[in-house]
């Protein structure tokens, strides 16, 4: 403060003076952030030129030359501007199929409602003040509601069999059920891997390392081709359910490793104190160790969730109609065949919104949990 009160005797240096006007502040900002040194200035100029060029061609392709709507399957105008402009008309034409697959057209409000239920469920679960035991009940209720809406057959809803499901609900179902069942599995396996009992420990190590050592695709192949071989005659499990089981096993192994990291961060004294109180193994872990351990690893858990959400797209390879598969199928139609880039951008945006929300959330949690 003293320097400011005594300063008027001397003329202010340029920097201090320029701080007062908005233009001066802008110049200062530019100087420190874009033109701090010769190298920095060269980089800035090059980047600005590149960005401007990219921006202009993107606007030309995506907006200026783009066609937003065509009547029926008349894609002639779209084809004539191919390479010069985007054909966004493919989205209004196909979005119902991309989002909901072959679900009966007049019943598509049901999967739409399912997607909203999922989003509400995610939102509720992300609130810190909602992290209580009742949340498990909310999840159970939501999952039942989702089942009723998708299958129908009760409350006057017509029955829709699983092989007509498709699009976004399938992606959300695979991801959510995979995590909902994979999480408890992961906890058990993580505890087992740190158990003092050698047989249990080696079983858990074997499971985790086998699953993590091979690509997800081979697990999915296993689920789609090999799994039926392992069942007795006459027992037939639906393809979607088989993929779901593969995803649960996959999620269990990866989540177990994350949770194990959290368990390792718990100081020895916590175990000793719990033992001194005479708590049993399950009480000790359930009441003292696990709540702390999981809190430790929430950011990496959310990162695993994101990875897992993206990985559900791999069911494309075994022919299950998730969001990516419906997108790829929607452009088989000869009239629209050439406009896959537009469809991929649209679907990519949907995936991005979900993953970006989760990663923002994880960063926010990390910032909150940091001391100070």
């Amino acid at each position: 403060m003293t320097s400011i009160t005594h300063a008027p005797q001397n003329p202010l240096p340029f920097d201090a003076r320029s701080r007062r006007t908005p233009a001066g502040r802008a110049i200062r900002w530019l100087r420190t952030n874009l033109f701090a040194s010769v190298t920095s200035s060269i980089i800035s100029v090059l980047l600005i030129a590149l960005l401007a060029k990219a921006f202009v061609s993107l606007v030309q392709w995506g907006y200026w030359n783009a066609i937003w709507i065509v009547s029926g399957n008349q894609t002639g105008p779209c084809r004539s501007i191919r390479g010069l402009g985007a054909c966004w008309a493919v989205i209004p034409e196909k979005y119902r199929f991309i989002l909901f697959g072959t679900y009966p057209f007049n019943e598509q409000w049901r999967p739409a409602l399912v997607c909203l239920t999922f989003i509400a469920l995610f939102w509720v679960s992300s609130r810190r003040n909602w992290w209580r035991k009742e949340l498990v009940l909310v999840w159970a209720a939501a999952l039942v509601l989702i089942g009723v809406l998708m299958w129908g057959g009760v409350f006057g809803l017509s029955y829709v069999s699983q092989d007509r499901w498709g699009g976004l609900p399938v992606t959300l179902i695979l991801a959510t059920f995979g995590l909902a069942f994979g999480f408890p599995l992961g906890i058990v396996v993580a505890l087992g891997r740190r158990s003092k009992l050698p047989a249990i420990r080696s079983l858990c190590v074997l499971y985790v390392e086998l699953i993590r050592g091979v690509p997800l695709i081979s697990l999915l192949f296993m689920a789609s081709v090999m799994f039926p071989l392992f069942l007795p005659d006459g027992v037939n499990i639906d393809k979607l359910l088989r993929a779901q089981i593969a995803f649960i096993l996959y999620a269990g192994a990866y989540l177990a490793e994350v949770i194990r990291g959290g368990l390792q961060a718990i100081p020895r004294g916590q175990h000793d104190a719990a033992d001194a109180l005479g708590l049993t193994y399950w009480k000790k872990n359930g009441l003292i160790i696990l709540p702390q351990a999981i809190r430790h690893v929430i950011p990496p858990l959310v990162n695993t969730f994101i990875a897992f959400f993206k990985d559900t797209s791999l069911v494309l390879i075994i022919g299950i109609f998730d969001l990516l598969t419906t997108a790829k199928t929607s452009i088989i139609d000869p009239a629209w065949q050439q406009f896959s880039v537009e469809v991929y951008v649209f679907v990519g945006l949907i995936y991005f919104v979900f993953c970006f929300a989760m990663s923002r959330y994880s960063r926010q949690l990390e910032a909150q949990s940091r001391p100070g």
Partner: protein
């Protein structure tokens, strides 16, 4: 000695016996079902099918292969294809990821923002979607006749990327081997020189040795064997290219997708690694009057690497496992070939066991190497 067990130990024993019994029962049940089902479908178990003729065409292979070769040969081609994309992908992703990670820390606002956007966009879109996207773009490129020619000798068309190349013959391989041997010798020599500097404090220059071992020795070998290093430029003849090195569109799309996707994760790892080195380390080094490059090489990087290496290992493993997405664009890696085999012969268990064996071996190899490297750079505490 008397067997003496307390209650806890008895409990533990009972638990273990129960869990193992359940596991064995489940596996046994599944296995007996499988045997029954296989005998019903008349599929013989075992790896005898590997000797049969594959009859499967493989378009893109570095090894000599024809559809009349046995399945075993097809699998080896597949493994080479997997390694080809994984190894090159790991190298390129590390370079690109490191550059972007450093760019994120740049004091230039535009550069760091741009790097952040790159990381965010690529991380939040599924790899398979990105792969399909790149592949569609590849297919949308002009035909070979109208190929793009960004610089002389490089063609980009729907046939893939064609680059000028040096034909590799035996003599060339010997020269490369000489250079590798020179590098090894240089490494040992450097240790020796550093040890002697430690003893008497006199700095000894390394560069004359480096020049002799890395340039002189290979040049000598090349000259004595008469190796040719002329670069052949690809040419368009008829509908396709002759000469040069061709990266098929499938391979190229897969490589781009894997490299860009993994580089986004590596960038974050590098960034957090550099940020984990406390500011005081820089200050202390500056106070000692050390050169900036020396500070980075000898003080900051070794500390950052300790944080960087473990997550980097898992990224390398991820890239290798993700290379199996090749099946979606029709690049024939080992998973794709196993899948075709499985459809042709019905040998599901064997095909998947082979995939598992290959990937577990590769994963183990990468883990062992990275663990060795990690142990080398780990903090030595008293």
């Amino acid at each position: 000695m008397r067997l003496h067990l307390n209650r806890q130990q008895v409990n533990g024993l009972v638990w273990q016996i129960v869990v193992v019994a359940i596991a064995v029962a489940i596996v046994g049940w599944l296995w007996s079902n499988a045997l029954h089902n296989l005998s019903v479908r008349r599929i013989s178990t075992g790896f005898a099918f590997l000797g049969r003729e594959a009859g499967m065409p493989i378009a893109d292979s570095w090894l000599a292969y024809s559809p009349r070769d046995p399945y075993a040969r097809a699998f080896i081609v597949g493994i080479v294809n997997t390694l080809r994309v994984a190894v090159i992908g790991i190298v390129l992703a590390t370079v690109l990821g490191t550059l972007i990670g450093i760019a994120r820390l740049s004091s230039n606002w535009l550069l760091s923002r741009l790097a952040a956007v790159y990381v965010e966009v690529l991380r939040d879109v599924p790899l398979l979607l990105q792969l399909l996207f790149w592949y569609v773009l590849m297919q949308g490129l002009p035909a070979a006749r109208a190929a793009w020619k960004p610089i002389e000798g490089v063609f980009l068309s729907n046939r893939g990327l064609v680059l000028p190349a040096i034909p590799i013959e035996e003599a060339n391989l010997w020269v490369i081997a000489a250079a590798a041997a020179g590098l090894g010798a240089l490494y040992l020599l450097r240790r020796q020189l550093v040890a002697r500097q430690m003893a008497d404090g006199k700095a000894r220059p390394l560069w004359p040795y480096a020049l002799a071992l890395l340039v002189g020795l290979p040049a000598l070998v090349s000259f004595s064997l008469g190796a040719s290093w002329t670069i052949t430029l690809p040419e368009l003849r008829g509908f396709n290219f002759v000469g040069g090195l061709t990266l098929a569109p499938e391979y190229f799309a897969l490589l781009i997708a894997l490299v860009t996707y993994t580089s986004a994760f590596i960038a974050e790892i590098v960034r957090s690694g550099i940020q984990s080195v406390p500011r005081g380390q820089w200050d202390a080094a500056n106070a000692l009057g050390l050169r900036r490059s020396f500070v980075l090489q000898r003080i900051v990087l070794p500390q950052a690497l300790r944080v960087i290496i473990p997550p980097m290992t898992s990224q390398y493993l991820n890239l290798t496992k993700n290379s199996s997405l090749a099946v979606a664009v029709g690049y024939q890696d080992v998973v794709s070939i196993a899948n075709t085999t499985l459809n042709q012969t019905g040998q599901a268990i064997e095909a998947i066991a082979l995939i598992m064996a290959v990937f577990l071996t590769i994963s183990l190899g990468i883990s062992l190497f990275m663990n060795w490297y990690n142990a080398r750079i780990a903090l030595v505490e008293r």
